[in-house]
Amino acid sequence: MIDASRFPGAPRYGLLVLPAGILFAPFYAAMTLIGAISFVEYPALRDGIINITLNNYELALLDSFNFEVLLRTIRLGLVVGALSAVLATPMAYGIARASRRDLQLTLILLTIIPFLVNALVRVFALTTVLGREGFLNFVLVNIRIVDRPSSFLRSEFAVVMGQTYFVVPFAILIITALMAKLNENIEHAASTLGAGPWQVFFKVTLPRLYPAIFSAGLIGYALSVSAFVVPLILGGDQYKMYSNLIFDQVAFRGDFGRAAAMAVVLLIVSVALAELLRLAVRRIAGR
C-alpha cells in the first residue's frame, strides 16, 4: 500500500471533513440538548430556576392514552416491516436477475419514482385509492364483494397500507443491493445438479437473502415507528401515532419538555428496539 502522505503536497484529509463536520454540529448539539431538556419542567425558568423532573417521562410512557398509542405504533412498525420485506423480495429478485437490461431499468424506475415523489402527493394519491369514491371501493363493488362503498380512510388499515407504500421502495433497494452482489453461479450449479426452480429459490437463493430481507424489515420497522405524515392524513384524529402526539405537544401546547421526553422514547423504540431485535435474531441464528 502506498502512503499518500509520502507524496509532496498530499492533501490533509482531515480538512476535507471539516465542512461536513461544521454542518453536522447543530444536529449533534440539538440531539444532546433534547436529551437534557426532556428532564426539564416547562414552562422553564420559572422564578429563575429550572425544575428537574421525571414527570415528562411519566407522561410519555405511563399515561394510558400515550401508552395505548405507543403500543399501536409498535404494532404498526412490526406489521409494516414484515409486510414490506415480503413484498419487496420478489421485486428485488426481479431487478437483480432480470434477463434484459431494459426490463431491469423499468423495474428500477417503478421503484424509484414512487420513492421520490413528494410524500404529501403520495399520501393524497392513496386517499384516492382508499376513499369512499376511490379505486378500491370501485373494484370491490364491481366484483360484488361489498354492496355499498364505504371509506377505508381513518382506519388502521389505511395507515398500514399507506406506510407500507412508503416503506416498500426502501426494502426493495436494500434487498436488491445485496442480491446484486450474490454469485449467480451457485444457483446455476444447483440447477445443473438437478434442483428445480422452486428448490433453487427456497434452498439456495432465499437463505442467502435472509440477512438483507431481515434488515429491510428492521428498517421498515424503524421508519414506520416514526411515521408522521401517513397517520396524520390517512389516520386522522382516531388513528394517531406516537409522532403525531409529539407534534401536538409542540404545536398546540408548546411543552418542549414533554415533547423532548416523548422524542427520546420514540428514539429508543425505533433505534434501540430494532438493534435489540437484530442481536436476538443473530443469537438465535447462531451467527
Binding site: 465542512p19 444536529f27 413484498l87 431491469q104 414512487p114 428445480g196 425505533s270
Partner: protein, 273 residues
C-alpha cells in the same frame, strides 16, 4: 414433463408477484393522474368526462407562487452545501484509513436512521435557545442535516471505487498536485457530486416535517403550502398539482439517470454477461 411444469409454475408465480408489487407501487399515482383529467368536481373513480380545466385552475393559483420560489432557492442552497461538503467528506474518508477508524462515518450516517420529526424538534429547541430567528438559516441547517447523510453515503460508495493508480501515474509523470486534483480527482468525483446535489435538491424540495417545525411563523416552503391547501380543499386541482409534481419527479429521475446511472446509485453494478 414435471420439471417443465415446475419451471413454468415458478416463472408464473414469480411474474405474478412482481406484477402485483409493481401495480401496488404504480396504482395510486396512476389513479391520481387519471383523476386530474376528470370532469367531476370531487375526486371519484372512475372519472367521468375529460377536461384540462383543473390544470388551467392550477396555473392561476396564487398561493403557491412564493412558496415554490422559496423551495427552489432553498433546495439549490441545500444541494450546494450538502453536495460539496458530503462529497469532500466521502473522498477524505475513502483516502484516509485514519479517518475511517475514527468512527466519523457512523456519526455522519446517523441522521438517516433517526426520525426526521425528532431531528426537527431538537433543532427547533436548539435554535430557540440560541435565539436564531432567521428562518432561512434554520431551514438550511435543518435540511442539510437530513440530506447530507444520503449524499455522503452515495458519494462514499463511489469514492471507494476510484482507481488511485491514475493519480499515481499522473504524479509519476510529473503533474503537480494541483493539476492532479483539477484534471483527475475532480472529474472522477463529478458523478458523486452531481448525483448527490440532485438528490439533496429533490429531498429538500420534498421535505415537509422539518420545514413545518422550523418555519413556524416564518417563510412557507412549497410542501407546507401544499399541506395547508390539502387541509382545506381536496379537489381535482390538487390532483393536477400532484400530476405535475409526479412528472417533475420523473424528470429528476431521468436527469439522475443521465448524470450518474440509477443502477450505480443504488449499489447495482452493471454486470457484464
Amino acid at each position: 414433463m414435471v420439471a417443465r411444469s415446475l419451471r413454468s409454475s415458478f416463472s408464473i408465480v414469480g411474474v405474478a408477484a412482481i406484477v402485483f408489487v409493481c401495480s401496488f407501487l404504480v396504482l395510486p399515482l396512476a389513479v391520481i393522474i387519471g383523476s386530474s383529467f376528470g370532469t367531476d368536481a370531487f375526486l371519484k373513480f372512475p372519472p367521468r368526462g375529460l377536461t384540462l380545466s383543473w390544470y388551467n385552475k392550477m396555473l392561476h393559483l396564487r398561493e403557491f407562487v412564493t412558496p415554490l420560489g422559496i423551495s427552489l432557492r432553498l433546495g439549490a442552497i441545500v444541494a450546494l452545501f450538502s453536495g460539496i461538503a458530503g462529497t469532500l467528506a466521502a473522498f477524505a474518508l475513502a483516502r484516509s484509513p485514519y479517518l475511517r477508524r475514527s468512527g466519523i462515518e457512523a456519526a455522519f450516517l446517523l441522521p438517516i436512521v433517526l426520525p426526521s420529526l425528532v431531528i426537527g424538534l431538537s433543532l427547533l429547541v436548539l435554535f430557540n435557545l440560541l435565539g436564531i430567528n432567521n428562518t432561512w438559516i434554520t431551514l438550511i441547517l435543518g435540511h442539510v442535516a437530513v440530506t447530507m447523510p444520503l449524499v455522503f453515503q452515495t458519494a462514499c460508495s463511489l469514492a471507494t471505487t476510484l482507481n488511485r493508480d491514475i493519480e499515481f501515474a499522473a504524479m509519476t509523470l510529473g503533474a503537480p498536485p494541483r493539476t492532479v486534483i483539477t484534471r483527475i480527482v475532480l472529474p472522477l468525483l463529478r458523478p458523486a457530486l452531481v448525483g448527490g446535489m440532485i438528490m439533496a435538491f429533490a429531498l429538500s424540495f420534498d421535505e415537509f416535517v422539518i420545514s413545518i417545525l422550523l418555519s413556524q411563523g416564518g417563510i412557507t416552503t412549497f410542501p407546507v403550502a401544499l399541506f395547508t391547501y390539502m387541509r382545506f380543499s381536496v379537489n381535482p386541482t390538487l390532483a393536477a398539482i400532484s400530476t405535475a409534481l409526479i412528472f417533475g419527479t420523473c424528470l429528476v429521475v431521468l436527469v439522475l439517470h443521465r448524470a450518474v446511472g440509477l443502477d450505480m446509485l443504488f449499489g447495482l453494478k452493471r454486470q457484464n454477461r
